[in-house]
């Protein structure tokens, strides 16, 4: 029995379009998840700029905070928040896949692992909020 190899010159290669991520919902949501990292990074850079103003004195800091209350910046932060939350929830879902948790012999179902992450996130957020309110002046 001899194997007949297909003629390589006659094989038809379909090219993947550059817009591949627009062809179905899963790919599109994946791309949104990836782009969330851009919003997170931009926010942190803006935050860093605000912190930097402290070296220019309290008036500079206040002026920067004033700028952040413009509608454009509020909108940016709202959008950034949505993307950050999307990053968080997808990260918690991924964590359940990457690190299977066990109680003894039994594996904890993934939705529960994700839910535990969400609870931890809520607790951490509250701690940060409380510390901020306690330490701010």
């Amino acid at each position: 029995m001899s194997a007949v190899r297909p003629d390589p010159s006659k094989l038809y290669h379909r090219k993947m379009p550059a817009t591949w991520w627009l062809t179905n919902q899963s790919y599109f949501l994946f791309m949104l998840r990836e782009l969330s990292s851009v919003f997170v990074a931009v926010f942190l850079v803006v935050y860093l700029c605000q912190i930097y103003q402290l070296s220019n004195g309290p008036d500079a800091y206040r002026a920067f905070t004033q700028k952040l209350s413009s509608p454009g910046w509020i909108l940016f932060h709202l959008v950034a928040l949505l993307f950050a939350l999307y990053h968080s929830i997808t990260w918690f879902q991924s964590s359940a896949v990457v690190l299977p948790l066990r109680i003894g012999e039994r594996v904890i179902p993934r939705p529960i692992v994700t839910a535990l992450h969400v609870v931890a996130w809520a607790i951490v957020s509250i701690i940060v909020l409380v510390l901020f309110l306690a330490l701010k002046s």
Binding site: E34, A41, L48, I51, P58, L81, A84, L85, S88, S137
Partner: protein, 111 residues
């Protein structure tokens, strides 16, 4: 044996650490910095950023997600068709994160 083989775990490790930090901490900070204070729900002079352990916390908060962004964005740009300038993208993304690390440290020490 190309450098890419041996270095990838480093970038992925930083990406993961940054992902964890971003997932747990960034939303509340966006709310505080981007909404609560600017909208007047609370006030803040920023003096708390001068506390030494707050500076340490801010360093971790800001720097690690930069590496998360760098790794993710590098792969995204490649997947969106820019594979031909892969090396340049690597320098811009990972280099950007490294620059960000030093700038953040410098700023936090300065204030």
């Amino acid at each position: 044996m190309s450098t890419e083989k041996t270095m990838e775990p480093l970038w992925w490790g930083l990406f993961s650490a940054g992902g964890v930090v971003a997932a747990f901490l960034v939303p509340i900070h966006i709310i505080l910095v981007g909404l609560a204070v600017p909208l007047g729900w609370t006030t803040d002079t920023g003096a708390l950023y001068r506390i030494w352990w707050v500076k340490l916390y801010l360093f971790v908060l800001i720097v690690l997600p930069l590496y998360h962004w760098a790794h993710r964005f590098y792969f995204t740009l490649n997947d969106m068709g820019l594979k031909s300038i892969s090396k340049l993208l690597a320098v811009l993304c990972y280099g950007g994160a490294i620059v960000g690390t030093f700038v953040t440290a410098w700023i936090l020490l300065k204030i």
